[in-house]
Symmetry: C2
Subunit: 431 residues, 2 copies
């Protein structure tokens, strides 16, 4: 196996355009067969992949060590090296992930809404794969397996373009995927890992409108922005999580503090962490001092509006840039607002459409917030940290969409499908 990886890497690809066009044609050709594959065959394939990974963990770690060594040589920082590394535990996690995807219900073929029309035809919808999905991701090699599994279970062919620093690892994993596909006779090109570090391959993928149905970028903001700006193919993207918690007048004090502390401090570097706290002015004097005390004790830097700083003198003064900032760090911006209307308009102005929360005991304001906040997840009396495919019961997620069309919020198997119409008749014609 390892020798195959090396031979692929020795082969320089001269013509990236032609190479990617071929990858695209192969994916499109495989997609039809994959769409028709039974649940059993797809699950058996995923099991074959899991077994191949377990059996090849030494070879996978050897390939990963090549990437790690090259990464150290080229001066990757510790955080990137950590993401890149495949330990035995992480390899085991990939295998577990495959078993979880096997256990998920197959969304494909589900028929809904089948009803008779006055003409006598029955009209309904059948859930079908999207076709060919392109995934563009950065350094974590586990995405190779996670994304391949979700795409395959949802009947889609997939083209995987990982970070160039993890190519050896990804190609080793690709061979385990190939072994799974081979074990059931599904097309070998159903899952393809782009076997070049040349960034021109990404540019090609983004414009292959004939052979790629949707691109999902997974990575930092600069990657996602580049993909969104350059793509001529539909993109399911997640740009930022500038999540708000609004503490309403009359909110339960204890609940408000618990939710805010959890949303900010449960984990800092995640997209569903609270980055900005809004407090109704009638509630500020009561809630801000004890909440600030807890957050400061946990090491969170607070950056407040003028009135917040008056209530909590140890706050720093927020600058105009703070309201739109996704800190991904123990920093929180704090603003006192008149009430729910101003909270909603502040979120509309500065939010990122990811997840926003109201803490309230007031029925009508809860309803208004749910309806009017235009974010992929809107919550009442819960921590924004719940915005997650596992917590929502999707089983697994390939990302979180902050887009408006096709799918919003955590994207699981269903987000990788669409619905076609089916019509059942017994000879009807239009009159």
């Amino acid at each position: 196996m390892a020798s195959v990886s090396r031979s692929v890497l020795k082969t320089e690809i001269d013509n990236i355009t032609e190479y990617m066009a071929q990858v695209g044609r192969q994916a499109r050709a495989a997609a039809g067969e994959l769409a028709a594959a039974s649940t059993q065959v797809k699950n058996q394939t995923l099991l074959g992949m899991a077994e191949a990974i377990s059996a090849s963990s030494d070879l996978i770690r050897q390939a990963n060590e090549l990437d790690m060594a090259a990464g150290r040589e080229s001066g990757l920082d510790d955080a990137l090296l950590d993401r890149l590394e495949l330990t035995d535990a992480r390899i085991e996690e990939m295998v577990d992930g495959l078993r979880q995807v096997i256990a998920l219900p197959d969304p494909i073929g589900e028929i809904s809404g089948l009803a008779y029309r006055p003409s006598g035809i029955q009209v309904g919808k059948m859930r079908v794969p999207l076709g060919v999905i392109g995934i563009i991701y950065e350094s974590r090699p586990n995405v190779t397996i996670d994304a391949a599994a979700l795409c395959l279970k949802s009947g889609n062919a997939v083209i995987l373009r990982g970070g160039s620093e993890s190519l050896n690892s990804n190609l080793a994993l690709a061979e385990c995927i190939a072994a799974g596909l081979q074990s059931t006779g599904l097309p070998a090109k159903a899952v393809q890992v782009v076997a070049t570090r040349d960034r021109a391959a990404v540019t090609e993928m983004l414009t292959m409108r004939e052979s790629v149905d949707v691109i999902i970028p997974r990575g930092g903001k600069s990657l996602v922005e580049r993909v969104a700006a350059e793509a001529r193919v539909p993109v399911i993207k997640h740009l930022e999580g500038n999540c708000h918690t609004f503490i309403d007048d009359g909110a339960d004090l204890e609940m408000a503090i618990a939710i805010a502390v959890n949303a900010k401090t449960h984990r800092y570097g995640v997209c569903n962490a609270m980055e900005s706290l809004l407090v109704a002015k009638g509630m500020a004097a009561e809630v801000l001092p004890p909440l600030a005390e807890q957050l400061l004790a946990l090491g969170v830097e607070l950056r407040g509006c003028k009135q917040s700083c008056e209530l909590v003198p140890s706050m720093l003064k927020a600058g105009v840039d703070d309201w739109g900032e996704e800190y991904l760090a123990p920093i929180l911006s704090v603003k006192i607002v008149d009430g729910v209307d101003q909270a909603i308009s502040h979120i509309a102005a500065y939010g990122s459409g990811h997840t926003d929360v109201i803490v309230t005991e007031h029925w009508a304001r809860a309803q208004q917030f749910l309806r009017e906040v235009d974010s992929s997840s809107v919550m009442v009396n819960a921590s924004s940290r719940f915005a997650d495919g596992f917590e929502y019961g999707l089983g697994a997620e390939i990302g979180i969409s902050t887009d408006r069309i096709h799918v919003r919020g955590p994207v699981g198997l269903e987000g990788l499908t669409s619905q076609k119409y089916i019509v059942l008749g017994d000879g009807q014609i239009r009159v």
Copy 2:
């Protein structure tokens, strides 16, 4: 009213980029208010539009006459002039269309799937507008009203860019729309008609990623292809309707002939007309001669494969280009295939993903066709002419999507929406 139209037209717009950016900002600003508008207010607004159109039919026809005169002068052909013309009957149709949209259920705010998770939170989805929709269309001015009504009912702001030859008509209709918006106090910029003939306005619209959430092109293939190629904004597009009917072995002879004749000859210039007939070889000798006789008698030109021509000598020989052709005319390509597998692969190779039909009495082959044909509508024993928003019970359609993501097939109100997640808790935090 007419004076306003003229003054707008006299004003040359110097800076199209700045003008369109302003249109975009205004649409985005209006979208929030529209998303929160109640069903009653939206219906009242649509009623106000209908009343304004009825009251202004003379002025609308005067504006339309300016367009017609300019069209005649510039040598538009009769078909285009016919599409452009607003007769009293067509104005009445627009008013009827508005009343039909009023009668449709409001999709916005619908909550589905709300269920408890192990953490104690309830997770569900709420149907919400897409935001700002751009419609790019050609000569029919009725699209101005139809599209505005569907976008408004689904809570979306809309930017309408009609054909330059119909600008006077569209601006007159825009004033009726404005009267409706004014009657209920919805934002005046919820519906905007681009008030310039400059094609640069289209180019701008296609790249306004901040202010336009989706573009829907309505028109001929060259318009749609241009939009799809240039757009940096998601597009819901309908490229072609190269619809197939496959007559399976053992199909009911009478039913097969009736469906094929209806699918081909009910109307020729429509996207859901049959353009290609596939016949299982075991059935060909029985069905092709009597079917060909009927079609030829109705004036349809038949272009067959070699075997078809042997069975029906009056057929022309099909060229290689015939299989992919959307004739929109009394022409039909005819091919004899081995059976359902070859029919499915022929459709995959040459079809356009619009609507494809099997006529069969065989359970397993019907199921296989439904599952494996990757088209927006797949039918068993019914005429492809049923692929239509009204026939499907959507009430009205803004177009038919042959895309794979977001929405496939006829696009009604629901296709102009998406679903966000809502989470209802009573103080839950992540542990």
